[in-house]
Subunit: 243 residues, 2 copies
């Protein structure tokens, strides 16, 4: 089953489309250059924030001319929005889609969290653009803020869906408030980013994982034990693969 | 008993000292002006971040000349550091000192959290400088980052002390890891700031409080019940006031 991307249907254009087969050589070369600039912009934004991006800084970083960069991104705002979308596409690839391969319910939720933690840890040399972007733009209404909000909301909706599925599958208690679990899990990630990136103290990764386990234990049912008890040839197991 | 301020002993100069009785009128007027500028700077930084501060922006906001502002803060960096210290002093007044009036242990820890939540909520129109500062400066080594780190570390140390005291008082279990509780509580505050400020979704306050209650319930002993059972004239109660 093909999973829909995280992107909200209102923002279909947001994930990058692969080059068409009949593109001219020039178009392909242009797209390759754009991809190089975008990667450089992503790296720059991870360190300096989205507001630290400028056509000039990027030209310097890619050793291109200002007009060369400008040709691909008409304005600084367009550049920032493209970076947000690119970040989102990478996030989907690394966090969302791999977790979708796990069994529906708690296994998938665990993998979503673990992948998220890994990504934030990898970013500890740079920084998570969602997190820095949220702080940079919480008081700056406009298209860049809107693009960020769409991405964050889509990601949070996917997480919440996974939590609800875990409730439906009977892995988490029926009275579990999905919003509450989402809030607390998100808090762990933010604390991880802060302690590791800003305070540079060790052990934040373990604490994030421990915190997640505590949340899971609080809401968990005995589904694992039940599955073992029920798994005899004549009884349908609860753990059947549902996508 | 007078409680030591949050400030780390290495940073004694950081909390604002009251004007001395023998200051000349000019000095008093200078201090008053400095206070006005500092308040304006605090407000500006809450919206624009510390990096959004400039002598020029402040001059405009206070309707003073650039040189007038510059006379009080020799450089932008000095201005930023003064704002960090001022923020810290206000934080101590509003969050730390009131909580110290509570009984040592869980009552005090609850009040620290509640005051912290209230402050972040009040800041929802503006923003918490610790939180935005951490993101702005995590990749910008220098005196401003150092000043922020000192403040944040002092505040976290105070929280951790309160957690340890709750363990010592027998309100929280002996096997409670204070660092872990601190990490999770901090995460709730960061999630609150994010959801309320960036996503502008309602209900974040309740979720933060619920999350805190869940953490407390996880680690709590039956000290309240025990205190009731033990409170007979011939037995010393566990709940005696210790500061």
């Amino acid at each position: 089953m093909i999973h829909k991307p995280l992107s909200d249907p209102r923002s279909e254009a947001l994930t990058r489309k692969p080059a068409g087969g009949r593109s001219s050589k020039a178009l392909q070369k242009g797209q390759a250059t754009r991809a190089v600039i975008l990667d450089a912009a992503l790296a720059l934004a991870s360190h300096m924030g989205l507001e630290g991006l400028s056509i000039g800084a990027l030209a310097e970083s890619t050793q291109m001319s200002n007009s060369g960069v400008f040709a691909h991104f008409g304005s600084r705002e367009e550049l920032q929005i493209s970076v947000v979308r690119e970040y989102h596409a990478k996030f989907e690839e690394e966090v969302f889609f791999p977790a979708m391969r796990e069994l529906r319910g708690l296994p998938r939720l665990r993998m979503l969290f673990e992948r998220w933690v890994k990504r934030v840890s990898v970013e500890l040399d740079s920084g998570c653009i969602y997190i820095s972007g949220a702080v940079e733009f919480d008081d700056r209404p406009g298209p860049v803020r809107d693009a960020l909000v769409v991405m964050v909301v889509a990601w949070h909706a996917a997480l919440e869906r996974a939590i609800r599925q875990a409730i439906e599958e009977g892995h988490l208690r029926q009275d579990t408030e999905a919003h509450q679990v989402l809030f607390e899990v998100h808090g762990l990630i933010l604390a991880l980013h802060h302690d590791a990136r800003f305070l540079r103290i060790p052990g934040a990764l373990d604490r994030a994982r421990k915190g997640f386990e505590r949340i899971v234990q609080f809401y968990k049912t005995n589904y694992e034990t039940n599955t073992l008890l029920e798994s005899s040839p004549s009884v349908t197991t609860r753990g059947k693969t549902k996508r």
